[in-house]
């Protein structure tokens, strides 16, 4: 009975790498250390509906076909398209992402990741002001003040607080939770907020106002701060600024509540500026709470392959980048994309209606282990192995630390990487034939 230690959980951006998995008859029978979400991913393998066969839509129905036929049909769509959108690629390995980018390059497609609807604005903020961060262990070992802003790790990253942040004990933080202050800034009192020493209830969409007020206080301009900002009293703001200044080491973990609320990337830009200001007094860093386990990896791979982290348009043969113009939703809402290849993501469930309506009109290729609402509008469906369980590969944790995901059980399904390679080969073959 093989017991695999130190397996990496491929669910959330915490990428916990201490999971013990027992495998019997090529089935995972026991999972130790994972949280509820991680656990459900490992067992989900056997409980959820897998896409069992490659399928092609014929007369409105998806009918099973061999892999080769699905690859050929998909490659034909790609070759016949003038503007393909390639989207997703965040719940898969970096190796697969690299091949997806090559496929986009060879087909002159536009490729974008799920950051389009989550931390994309954080990337824009880094382009504006940089990104002063640290690896998670630095927080564990040093931080005496932790701020969770617009995120709810209790539910989204269940082991984050025990492994890396609030509750973790480290070299200089031997008292763990007792030795550190925890602040939550959010629009509602989340379960994370309930655990905090201080909960700051901010008015919806007013993050930038609070950030600006905090910066004013940190920089000694408290006279410009009005009596209330973002629904918070000046007194409370000054106190929070003092806490930040007096901490020996603080970290602001920021989530989609910050990146996707009003002011978007300006919020991240503001947090970055605040961190820079704070370092005049003490040590402070920021870390984005990334959701999908390898959305950080997409940003990394895309950046070294193409120079840009997302929204990359190969229409000109070389990478062109202009988020707002070249993002996944941009080309769908403008009804510009005439085909789409979607992997390890579900725009059918997460994109605005107008974008989904357009998706439904164009040929869609889906690569995924599981059926989801996108399957309903897909014309070619190619099932994939689950990375981190049935296939190995690299993933980047939310702090950009890369880890090697293990293969735990065998499968007949092809990996995303292999599917992308097959598509590249088939596209080349068709192009040469043409």
């Amino acid at each position: 009975m093989p017991v695999i230690k130190d397996a990496v959980c491929s669910l959330c951006g915490s990428l916990c790498d201490d999971i013990t998995v027992t495998v019997e008859d090529n089935k995972i029978t026991k999972i130790e250390n994972a949280c509820i979400l991680g656990h459900s991913k490992f067992v989900g393998m056997f409980e959820h509906d897998r896409i069992e066969n490659p399928m092609i839509r014929k007369d409105g129905e998806l009918v099973p076909v061999p892999y080769e036929e699905a690859i050929e049909a998909a490659a034909k769509i790609l070759v016949n398209s003038r503007r393909t959108l390639s989207y997703g690629w965040c719940s898969t390995s970096c190796e697969a992402i690299a091949k997806a980018i090559q496929l986009a390059e060879e087909t002159g497609s536009l490729i974008d990741s799920t950051a389009n609807v989550c931390h994309g604005p954080s990337a824009l903020a880094a382009q504006e002001k940089g990104s002063p961060g640290a690896s998670l262990g630095v927080i564990k070992n040093r931080a005496d003040l932790i701020v969770f802003w617009g995120c709810n790790p209790v539910h989204a990253h269940p082991r984050h607080m025990s492994r890396y942040s609030s509750f973790s004990k480290g070299f200089f933080s031997t008292k763990g939770r007792k030795g550190r202050k925890m602040v939550v800034i959010d629009v509602r009192k989340t379960d994370t907020a309930k655990l905090a020493d201080k909960y700051v209830e901010i008015e919806q969409g007013s993050d930038l106002l609070l950030i600006t007020a905090l910066r004013s206080a940190v920089n000694g301009h408290e006279d410009v701060i009005p009596e209330t900002v973002a629904g918070i009293s000046k007194e409370e703001i000054l106190e929070l600024a003092e806490n930040l200044k007096n901490a020996q080491f603080s970290c602001i973990f920021f989530g989609m509540g910050v990146t996707q609320s009003r002011s978007k990337y300006k919020n991240g830009d503001g947090v970055s500026s605040l961190i820079s200001d704070l370092n005049q007094h003490t040590k402070s860093v920021m870390i984005g709470m990334r959701g999908h386990y390898n959305v950080t990896g997409f940003g990394q791979v895309a950046t070294w392959e193409t120079g840009f982290p997302m929204a990359i348009d190969f229409a000109r043969g070389f990478p062109y980048y202009n988020p707002g113009e070249t993002g996944a939703n941009d080309v769908l809402v403008r009804e510009e994309a005439d085909a789409a290849i979607i992997s390890a993501a579900d725009p059918g469930a997460h994109f605005p209606q107008k974008a989904v309506r357009h998706l439904a009109k164009i040929p869609v290729i889906q690569i995924d282990p599981y059926a989801n609402p996108t399957t309903e509008i897909a014309d070619v469906v190619i099932p994939a192995a689950v990375v981190g369980i049935e296939a190995e590969g690299t993933a980047y944790r939310m702090d950009a630390i890369p880890l090697r995901m293990k293969k735990l059980i065998d499968t007949e399904f092809k990996t995303d990487e292999q599917i992308a390679k097959d598509l590249i080969a088939k596209v080349r073959e068709l192009k040469e034939g043409a």
Partner: protein
């Protein structure tokens, strides 16, 4: 397998390793190696009397890892076309992937462009061990070039504890383990102890300023690691980024550091110390107001010392991206220059930062910085001590190497640049008084030959029989050209090799990419006695259990990240 043979006829060979100074001869290649002779059926390349050197070897460049942070925060760099043919966007072709960038090109562009310059080997100068997989992931996507990387040890807790507790054997075992874990080639020390101090937003001020909470000094860290380096008989010496980088008056710390290493006895036939990007560490004055060159003092010391090598960190005017494991320096840069700032502290190990900036000839500080690099190259008499670099992209992108070569080879070219400087700048440098002009022979030493010795890679950087057939042929007839006058021609020829051969395969022809074979990755496996190794492992087990956020087993870079590995084994002397 059929033998592949090439005869390079009429090559005007400049190979300092053999003392060959622009002599016309034939070069024979078989199966990727230089050989005595080849058969009649060998493919012939007619070099037509053109300048022929071993493939260039950039021994200190930032080409994988934190360069990605530079790309990430500077998408504008992707569109820069400052050096035509070697920067900016280029669509994919049948032979090449798409390219972008200038200071921070994408991985493919890095491979192609170095090859166009006739370079075939690079050393990434900073691998944060916890993130080493990332370096190797990028290495995998850099075509053509052979690669190696230096692992960061200068602010590492385990290192500092072993030095504090006087456990040199375990320290050596840890260094060996770290190199293996990160698949590194050598020991890099950046601002010894400063990275740890930066963990609390502080810095160390010099060689004897204790590191907070660890009760060791930078001097002890440097000496401790140097001793471990020799104990392990590593192919490269310690590679040191001195304390106080970027600060006026730092030349004193630099010379002090160099002097300290006089007592280190190398057990391998190479230097005891390599000091990197000395331009940034050869500053005199007490503040930016009275800032001036410290190159004469540093060069004076270097001329009398024989235990070390160094590289320049030459500045190129225009945009650059600074990236260094010197975390506190980057924060200071960003505040001083009002520039954006990225930072990445790595648990238990080190810190780093990235800040873009622009060097302007109008700024007297930048002008003096520009001069210091050249001054060092001209004032230090023995080119075998000097590696030419821009610390790419810190001083400027490597694509400017040809431009920078002309600074070294032509006083006239320097005058052209200097004529744009203000009086204030001129008063603070000694360059206008220097008329030395380097020869092709000296340039070859600084760009390939000394690297071979410095990294103990006898098969690299020279054209001896048995060496790798990495060859660059430049469109220069040395007898017909006066580089001190015809510097533009020199620049042009070095910007796009007539031929670059990698392992005997033509990868560049007439400045264009012909083929993109995958290069090797060198890493060092230093053997340590089992008992010492296991005692050290007990200590690191505790570190992983209590303080790291990854399991020890997941720390080690797996074989699959090195598609073409070359393991260099050494026997430690314990």
């Amino acid at each position: 397998m059929r033998m592949s043979e090439i005869l390079i006829k009429n090559a005007n060979v400049c190979d300092p390793a053999q003392g060959i100074n622009c002599e016309t001869m034939d070069l024979c290649i078989r199966d990727g190696k230089i050989v005595e002779s080849v058969s009649e059926s060998a493919k012939v390349i007619d070099a037509a009397g053109r300048l022929t050197m071993a493939g260039g070897f950039d021994g200190h460049t930032h080409s994988a890892g934190k360069i990605n942070v530079g790309r990430f925060m500077n998408p504008n760099d992707a569109r820069r076309t400052l050096v035509p043919g070697l920067s900016g966007p280029e669509a994919m072709t049948e032979k090449t992937r798409a390219q972008v960038g200038y200071n921070t090109p994408n991985t493919y562009a890095i491979g192609y462009r170095y090859a166009k310059l006739g370079y075939t080997t690079i050393c990434e100068a900073a691998i944060p061990m916890l993130a080493a997989r990332h370096t190797h992931e990028e290495f995998k996507e850099i075509p053509i070039l052979d690669k190696m990387g230096l692992s960061l040890f200068g602010s590492n807790w385990q290192v500092m504890e072993y030095i504090r507790d006087k456990e040199p054997e375990k320290l050596a075992a840890y260094v060996a383990w770290g190199l293996k874990a990160s698949r590194g080639y050598g020991v890099k020390i950046v601002n010894a102890g400063g990275g740890e101090a930066w963990g609390w937003g502080k810095n160390v001020s010099g060689l004897y300023d204790p590191v907070p909470n660890f009760d060791v000094t930078p001097a002890e860290i440097l000496m401790g690691l140097a001793e471990a380096n020799e104990k392990l008989q590593l192919p490269h010496s310690v590679h040191v980024h001195c304390n106080n980088l970027g600060k006026p008056g730092n030349y004193e710390t630099t010379i002090e550091t160099m002097k300290m290493f006089e007592k280190v006895k190398p057990v391998v036939d190479r230097q005891a110390l390599h000091v990197t990007h000395v331009q940034f560490n050869a500053y005199a004055g007490t503040s930016w107001r009275d800032f001036e060159t410290g190159a004469p003092m540093v060069a004076d010391y270097l001329n009398g010392a024989n235990h070390l090598t160094f590289d320049l960190g030459q500045v190129i005017f225009g945009p650059a991206v600074t990236m260094t494991a010197d975390g506190p320096v980057e924060y200071a840069n960003s505040r001083m220059l009002h520039e954006k700032w990225s930072n990445q502290d790595i648990e238990l190990e080190d810190a780093s930062g990235v800040v873009p900036l622009s060097y302007s000839p109008k700024s007297f500080i930048n002008a003096v910085q520009w001069a210091i690099g050249i001054e060092l190259a001209l004032l230090v008499e023995d080119p075998w001590k000097i590696m030419f670099t821009t610390d790419s992209p810190n001083g400027g992108s490597f694509v400017n190497y040809p431009e920078a070569f002309t600074y070294l080879m032509s006083a006239k070219k320097r005058e052209q640049v200097i004529s744009g400087f203000g009086k204030m700048a001129l008063d603070r440098m000694v360059l206008p008084g220097l008329d030395r002009e380097l020869s092709f022979y000296e340039l070859a030493i600084m760009t390939r030959s000394m690297q071979s010795k410095m990294y103990s890679r006898p098969e690299k950087g020279n054209l001896k029989v048995g060496s790798d057939a990495d060859v660059a042929i430049y469109d220069i007839i040395t007898s017909d050209i006066d580089p001190s006058v015809e510097h533009e021609k020199v620049k042009q020829a070095f910007s796009g090799a007539a031929y670059t051969l990698k392992d005997g395969k033509v990868v560049v022809k007439d400045g264009k990419i012909e083929a993109t074979p995958m290069g090797r990755t060198y890493w060092v496996n230093a053997k340590v006695p089992a008992d010492i190794d296991s005692a050290m492992n007990k200590d690191t087990d505790i570190k992983f259990k209590k303080y790291y956020t990854v399991s020890k087993s997941n720390y080690m870079v797996e074989d699959s990240y090195l598609p073409n590995p070359v393991e260099i084994s050494t026997e430690g002397e314990f």
